[in-house]
Symmetry: C2
C-alpha cells in the first residue's frame, strides 16, 4: 500500500505540561505534517501500539488521535492493512502561501455595495450627548425591570423557549393591540401586530416586502436618515416630499407616482410638525389612487407634552394602505431592540413568513418582559413621568439656549417630540459647528444630514431628553464655546 | 367667517362615569362630527365659555379639547375672531365607506412575493416533539442564567444602553474570538465577529450583502431548508451541490460557476457526514478560482460525541473566502436569538454597516449575559454535560428504534449532530408518514423537504436531543403506531 515510515521523537513530541490533552497534540502535529506535505500520501503510519511506546504515552491516547484524523479524512484504515496517509489532491502552490486575494476578486455584490454605501449618521461618542432621540435612562425603573426579566429568564415555560412565534410573543401582541387603540387611536387585532428588533428592522423589512428595486418612494425632505438608508438599501428611487413648518407639499407636481410614501405625521423629523387632518386625508387619497403604501413612522408620537398624543394616521377610516411602525426604544430603552409593525389584515401572513426568513425577531423573554411591564402598569407610570420630565427639561433647555446661545441660534418650544431644531441666526455650516462641538467633547447632529436632494437648511437637531438640568447647562455652555471657537478660527 | 352654530346637548354629551376624561370625550365627538361631515367647514364653534356652560363642565375642559383639535388641524382660530371648523378637502365618497381594496391593488412587491413564496418547513406543534435541531432545555441552568441576566438588566452601564455597537457587544465579540480558536480552530480578531439575531439572520444578511439577484448559489442537495429560503429570498439561482453519505460531489460538471457556496462541513444537514480534508481543500480551490464566497454553516459542530469537534473549514490556511456562521441557539437556548458571523478582515466594515441598516442585532443585555455565562465557565460545563447527555440519548434512541421500528426504518449512530436520519426499509412517502405521525400527536420532519431539485430520498430526520428517555420511548412508540396506522389505511 505504501512505504512504512517511522515518526521520530524529534518531529513528533508531546508536551506533558501543556493544557492541550496529549491525544490532541498528536492529532494536531500529524494533521499539520500531512497538510504541509511533510508526510507524503500513502505513507503507512506506525501502529498505535508502537507509536504509543515511542512517545511514552498510553495506547488509547494514540487511538484517539488516529480516530480523529480518520474522521476528518487525513488518514485511511482497513482492517488488517494498517493505517496510511490519505491521498489528498491539492495544488502544488498550496504548500507556499498565496498572495492575498485582490479586492477585485473578493467583492461585495452590487446589492451589498448599495446597502453599505448608503449614507449614515456619523457615530461619534462625545463626552456629553446632545444627540436627538435618546431617552432618559437614569429614571428607568431598572430594578423592577430586572425582577420581571429574571422571572421570565428562570421560567421553563415552553412559550418562552420555542422557535415558532416568529411574528412576536402572543401576549405582547395582544397587549400592544389593545393599548394602541387608546394611545394612538388604532383599531387592530393582535395578529396585525408584528414584533421585530426595532424601528430600523421594521423599515428594512417593509422596504424589502413592499417595494422592488427602482420603485419610487416619497421620502420626507428633510427626513429621517435611517429610513432613507433602508429604502436605498432596497434599491428605491427616492422622490423628495418637501416638508416645511407649514406642512407637507403633497401637491408638488414633480412627484412621480409613488409605490411607498414615508411620513412621520405625529411629529415630523426633524421639524416636529404635526400633520394636519386635511393633509392626512389628502395623503390617504393619494395612496389609494396610486395603490401605494404609506409607511407611518411613529417614532416618538407618545411624547406630546400639551394635550394628548395626536391619533395616528393609521387610526383614520380608510387607512388600510397604512403600515404603522412603533417602537419601545424611545419609551423604554433603545438597547431593548423591540419595535413593531401594524400591518393590514391581508399582509399578516406575508409579514409573519418574511420575518421568519429575515430573522428580525426580538427574543421572546424580552418581549414577555415588556408585556409584563405594560400589563402591571409600570409602562404607563414611566411614560407619564417621562412626559412631565421632558416637558420640564424642554422649557429649561429653551430658556438656557436663549440665555447663552441667542447670538447664534433660535430654538422654539414644541409640544411634541424629544428634540428641537436650533436654527442658525447667522450663515453657518452645520458640519463646521458639529466639528467645533466635537472638540468641546459634545455630540450633536447637523440637521443638514436629513436633507437628501434639496439645498439643506443648516442648523442643529438637539436632543435634550437624556440630560438632567446640570448636564443640559454644561452641554449648552459647551455649545456656546464651540460657536465662539468657530468665530475665532 | 361662517355660520354660528350651537351644539346641542343631544348630539354632544359627556359621560361622567366613563374612564375617558371629559375633554377627551368632547374632542373625540367633535373630531368624529367633523370627519363625517355632520359639522360643515367654516361653522363657527361656540366659545369655550358657552360650551362649558351648556355641557356643565369646567371651561378648561373645553379649552383642552379645542387645543387638541387645533393642533391636529380640525379647527382654526384667530385672536378675536373665534374658532371655526377648518375646510378639509375630501372626496365626496369618503363619507360612505369604500369597498375593500382588491388584492390586485394592495399588493406585495415582486421581491416581497419571492420572499414570502419560498418554501418553509411546516410549523406543526405536536404534543411530542421529534423535530430536529432542538436542544434539551430541562438541563439548562436557568437560575444561574437568570441571576446573570438580572444583574445586567439592573446595570446602568452605558455600554449596555447605547445604540452604537451594531456589530455586537465588544466583550462577547472578544470572547467568541478567543474561544473559537480552541473549539473550532479558527483564528480571528474580535472585529471579525459580527453578532446577529441568530443563524437565520446571518444567512439572510450574507445573501443580501454577498450576492445579487440571479447569481448562482451552490446549495447542498439535500440541504438545510432555512438556508435555501434565505438564498431564494435574495433572488439566487440555486445549483444543487449533490451530497451523499460518501461526500460532496464537487466535481459535478453540471455545476455553473458559483457566486456563493453553502456547506455544512462539520455535520452535513441532513446526512450528518463530515467533510473530508480532501474535499475541504478542493472546495477552497474552487472558491478561489471563481472568486466565490463559501458560507460555512456550523449549526451544530460543537456536538461531536466521540473525539473532538472537527475543526472548521474557516480554520484552514487560505480560507479567506469563507464566511463562518455560528449560533448559540443549539448550545444554549434557541429562544436567545443570538448567532454570529466570522467574516474576513476586508468585510468587517461592510457587515458592521449593513447590520446597522437591517436591524438584525441582538439586544446588548443578552449578549453581555452570554458573555458572562461563557467567561464564568458555565458555558463549557453546560456543553460538556450536553455532549454526554446527547451521546447517551442517541445510543438509547438507536436501540429503541431497532427494537420497535426495525420493520420500517434503519437508524444508524452518528458521532456528530443532534438528529439522525431514519431511512425507510419500505417504499413509503415521508409526507404520508408525517401525516400519520401528526395524528398520533407526534411532530416529525420529512427528510424530503430538504431536497430542492432532485428526486428526494424519503425518510425522517429525527431530533432526539430534547427528550428524556421516557419521552423518547413514548415518541418511538407513537411513531410505531403511525407506521401501523399507515399500513392499515
Amino acid at each position: 500500500m505504501g512505504e512504512h515510515m517511522r515518526l521520530s521523537l524529534d518531529i513528533l513530541s508531546v508536551d506533558r505540561g501543556s493544557d492541550d490533552p496529549m491525544h490532541r497534540q498528536i492529532y494536531g502535529a500529524l494533521r499539520r505534517f500531512i497538510l504541509d506535505g511533510h508526510i507524503a500520501p500513502n505513507t503507512i503510519l506506525p501502529s498505535t501500539r508502537s507509536l504509543a511506546e515511542d512517545l511514552g504515552v498510553g495506547r488509547n491516547t494514540v487511538i484517539a488521535a488516529y480516530d480523529q484524523l480518520l474522521a476528518e479524512g487525513f488518514i485511511e484504515a482497513r482492517a488488517g492493512s494498517g493505517t496510511w496517509v490519505a491521498h489528498i489532491k491539492q495544488d502544488k502552490q498550496r504548500a507556499t502561501p498565496r498572495p492575498p486575494t485582490s479586492g477585485g476578486q473578493l467583492r461585495l455584490s452590487s446589492r451589498g455595495k448599495t446597502i453599505v454605501d448608503g449614507p449614515q449618521p456619523p457615530r461619534s461618542a462625545g463626552v456629553i450627548n446632545f444627540y436627538p432621540g435618546v431617552p432618559e435612562t437614569a429614571s428607568f425603573p431598572f430594578s423592577i425591570w430586572s425582577t420581571l426579566l429574571a422571572r421570565n429568564a428562570r421560567s421553563r415555560d415552553e412559550s418562552l423557549l420555542s422557535y415558532l412565534d416568529f411574528a412576536g410573543h402572543p401576549g405582547l401582541r395582544a397587549t400592544i393591540a389593545s393599548n394602541i387603540s387608546v394611545s394612538r387611536g388604532i383599531d387592530c387585532t393582535p395578529e396585525q401586530v408584528i414584533v421585530v428588533t426595532g424601528a430600523q428592522a421594521a423599515l428594512d423589512l417593509v422596504s424589502r416586502v413592499l417595494m422592488d428595486e427602482g420603485d419610487h418612494v416619497w421620502m420626507e425632505e428633510p427626513g429621517y436618515l435611517g429610513a432613507k438608508t433602508a429604502f436605498l438599501a432596497a434599491g428605491a428611487k427616492l422622490a423628495p416630499l418637501k416638508v416645511s413648518h407649514r406642512g407637507w407639499n403633497l401637491a408638488d407636481p414633480e412627484l412621480p407616482p409613488p409605490r411607498l410614501i414615508y411620513v412621520t405625521p405625529s411629529c415630523q423629523w426633524p421639524y416636529g410638525t404635526i400633520m394636519r387632518i386635511e393633509e392626512r386625508l389628502q395623503l390617504l387619497d393619494i395612496a389609494q389612487r396610486h395603490a401605494a403604501w404609506i409607511i407611518e413612522d411613529d417614532f416618538d408620537g407618545e411624547y406630546r407634552f400639551r394635550g394628548r398624543p395626536v391619533p395616528a394616521l393609521r387610526g383614520l377610516d380608510d387607512a388600510n394602505h397604512v403600515v404603522y411602525i412603533g417602537s419601545f426604544g424611545k419609551t423604554l430603552l433603545p438597547a431593548l431592540r423591540i419595535g413593531y409593525l401594524i400591518v393590514p389584515h391581508e399582509l399578516v401572513e406575508s409579514f409573519d413568513k418574511a420575518v421568519s426568513i429575515t430573522g428580525q425577531f426580538a427574543p421572546l423573554i424580552l418581549q414577555a418582559t415588556v408585556n409584563d411591564f405594560i400589563k402591571q402598569g409600570y409602562f404607563a407610570t414611566h411614560l407619564k413621568r417621562m412626559r412631565r420630565l421632558y416637558a420640564r427639561r424642554q422649557a429649561n433647555f429653551v430658556k438656557l439656549c436663549r440665555e447663552h446661545l441667542g447670538e447664534w441660534v433660535t430654538v422654539s418650544e414644541n409640544d411634541s417630540g424629544m428634540q428641537l431644531l436650533a436654527r442658525f441666526t447667522q450663515p453657518l455650516n452645520d458640519f463646521d459647528v458639529v466639528a467645533a462641538a466635537n472638540k468641546e467633547g459634545l455630540d450633536v447632529q447637523a440637521v443638514s444630514i436629513n436633507y437628501h436632494s434639496t439645498t439643506p437648511e443648516h442648523g442643529l437637531l438637539l436632543g435634550y431628553t437624556a440630560m438632567d438640568d446640570r448636564q443640559i447647562l454644561r452641554a449648552v455652555l459647551a455649545l456656546r464655546a464651540a460657536f465662539m471657537r468657530l468665530a475665532k478660527d
